[in-house]
Amino acid sequence: MYVDDIIFGSNEEAMSQSFASIMQKEFEMSLLGELTYFLGLEIQQKEGGIFLSQTKYLKQILKKYGIEDAKPVCTPMVTDVASVQMMNLQQYINQPTDL
């Protein structure tokens, strides 16, 4: 059997540690410590709670598509109905009879 990654957690620090040592006895594995990064997901464990983000991945794709320097907008889509309808209608531009 081959396992790439495992995440475990507990309310009790001691339980977490004893589980890790049991696992290490049984399997060949390395312990990376507190969870901070998993499959592109950034995890910040803070005093008041846990924060999940994908900032690194987002920066990477903004760079890939050359949008790093664009002027930011406040919402992800325009609200006027007409422009949404326009998107719907433009699908038929090559075969207007399909509509």
Partner: protein, 219 residues
């Protein structure tokens, strides 16, 4: 481009609906669709440090918000369902999906969306039970349409509702068995709104923070 946006919806439910819309045009994309995708990226450019915030808190009460945008789609007139599932103040699951059948009224569309929410909630309740977290039924589904709430409480068919496919009346049964209950929430507090339609800035920002999407520096 859309694939990477979809991946980002994992921590950014605020772009879920917009990504869904542009995703629908992938087969035959045109200029306007590319512009819409670029707009999403420009929005993300300004919210690079945003993510989901799960505050440390003992309240684990399960509840859901459900909303629809009725017959928005001009070519097929189907409605969009949105659902947001919370444990306490933490957003744990969400969806934004075009309904598979055409609804004749907003009430019908809301009723169908609430039924989808109900199935998800039942599954979540079972999973939580496996973790020995007890949720006391009935679980609240918050909805801003009073007619849909009335239909859910009325186990009798009448002329306005008897055409609704039977599978959605699953909701009535669950309400009757007190597994879930539909409750009213005013539209401006309706978090699921963000998952069904593009919103103006003020509403968008208000609902975004209500969902628990914050800038890293503010947490």
């Amino acid at each position: 481009m859309i694939g990477s946006l979809l991946y980002l919806t994992g921590t950014l439910p605020d772009i879920m609906h917009e990504v869904g819309i542009v995703g629908g045009f992938q087969e035959n994309p045109k200029e306007t669709h590319l512009q819409a995708v670029k707009r999403i990226f420009k929005y993300l450019q300004g919210t690079q440090n945003y993510g989901l915030w799960y505050p440390r808190d003992t309240d684990l009460t399960l509840h859901a918000y459900t909303d629809v945008d009725w017959a928005r789609s001009v070519d097929d007139r189907k409605s969009t369902s949105g659902g947001a599932f919370f444990m306490g103040s933490r957003l744990v699951s969400w969806f934004s999906k075009k309904q598979s059948s055409i609804a004749l009224s907003t009430a019908e569309a809301e009723y169908v969306a609430a039924a989808s929410c109900c199935t998800q909630l039942l599954w979540m309740m079972q999973t939580l039970q496996d973790f020995q977290i007890t949720c006391t039924p009935p679980i609240s589904i918050l909805c801003d349409n009073t007619s849909a709430i009335s239909i859910s409480k009325n186990p009798f068919m009448h002329s306005k509702t008897k055409h609704i496919p039977i599978k959605y009346h699953f909701l009535q049964e669950q309400v009757l068995e007190q597994k879930v209950k539909l409750e009213y929430v005013p539209s401006k507090e309706q978090v699921a709104d963000i998952l069904t339609k593009p919103l103006p800035r003020k509403t968008f920002e208000y609902l975004r923070q209500k969902m628990g999407v914050f800038d890293a520096s503010s947490c």
